[in-house]
């Protein structure tokens, strides 16, 4: 049922209903200008179909707000426990990486200093047993720095693992967004 006011805009009745439906959605989503609000109010006053839709839309919004969803206390307690455990794991991992890093650093420093004092022994062994310097000297240096190299390799492996995990997470996030729901 449409009254005479509806045709004041000069639009055909079906176009007026379309305009009203569009304005109702716009009003709910981002708001409308005063002039449009006045026109809409006038139209709704005389149009049962559109005022019914407006009421339905209003009820839907109201019902959406009134829908209550609760996270149970058990779920919250389980989540907190899981977060605590994961927090401990992460702390341990950080502490382990720091320990390995420090070990590598001090290993390198101590190996370098002690090599200075050990070098005459290497020279003596070469001379005494007539060993080839080209093999003994690099071999000794390698053996001397072995603990440092092991610690450095462990640290590198831990960092690579962490970076890989970050890269996987980043690539997953990069591929989301626009493609979702299509």
């Amino acid at each position: 049922m449409i009254n005479d006011n509806d045709h004041e805009s000069g639009l055909a009745p079906n176009l007026e209903h379309e305009r009203a439906a569009g304005l109702l959605a716009e009003q709910a989503i981002e708001g409308i200008e005063q002039a449009d609000a006045r026109w809409l109010e006038q139209h709704l006053a005389g149009c049962l179909e559109c005022s019914g839709y407006a009421e339905t839309l209003g009820l839907a919004r109201q019902a959406l707000r009134s829908i209550s969803v609760t996270a149970s206390d058990e779920l919250v307690a389980a989540t907190k426990a899981r977060v605590r455990i994961r927090s401990l794991e992460l702390r341990e991992r950080t502490a382990r990486a720091a320990f390995v890093g420090l070990s590598a650093f001090f290993g390198a420093v101590l190996s370098s200093i002690s090599l200075y004092y050990a070098w005459p022994v290497v020279r003596w062994l070469e001379t005494h047993f007539e060993l080839p310097a080209i093999i003994v000297e690099p071999g000794f240096v390698m053996a001397w720095f072995l603990p440092t190299m092991i610690a450095a390799a462990m640290l590198a492996a831990m960092r690579t693992q962490a970076r890989h995990a970050e890269a996987v997470a980043a690539s997953e996030e990069g591929s989301k967004g626009e493609s979702y729901g299509k």
């Binding site: 959605a25 716009e26 709910a28 989503i29 981002e30 839709y53 339905t56 839309l57 009820l59 839907a60 919004r61 019902a63 959406l64 707000r65 009134s66 829908i67 209550s68 969803v69 609760t70 996270a71 779920l75 919250v76 389980a78 989540t79 907190k80 899981r82 977060v83 605590r84 994961r86 927090s87 992460l90 702390r91 997470a169 997953e172 996030e173 989301k176 967004g177 626009e178 979702y180 729901g181 299509k182």
Partner: protein
Amino acid sequence: METQEAQIARGLSRRDPDVLEALIDQYRHRLMRYLLHMVSNRVVAEDLFQETWVRVLEKGSLYDGRTPFAAWLLSIARNLTIDYLRKRQRAGVEPINDDPDEGPVFEPVALTPSPYEIAAERERAATIAGALERVPSIFREVLVLRFQEQMKLEEIASLTGVPLATVKSRLYRGVAALKPALERNL
């Protein structure tokens, strides 16, 4: 003076479990509501709820405190939900729905003491929830964020990672998709 967001960012960068627990208490219902609307299944939503908070702990250092924490939290939940939905899609599993014997997923707030009003409200909420479930997820998400979470359009754009115009277009299409179901049922 430090803002609440900055305090949260500081706590998260330290991976302080006490800060996390306070945040879980503060945002528990809001996060659950969002997840439940996205997946329409309580068991899955509860799994994602836990996973989201573990992810918040792990990625806490990435939160800079310049955006509202709720938006950042929901963006993490959203990414996990998308992962989950994609895996289901790849596995060729049927769309998820709760066990019909389980009753409604959503419960309306008891606004009035009248049993009739409570029943009517319950029925209306169930209708809305049912109508929402039939709306494609891409539109359902923005409807929930706009009308239930009362988020600004700009916040929704930032959360979903799409331009503002796309958010508006999804909202209009969402309302249009909701219209026939509402007219039938309300």
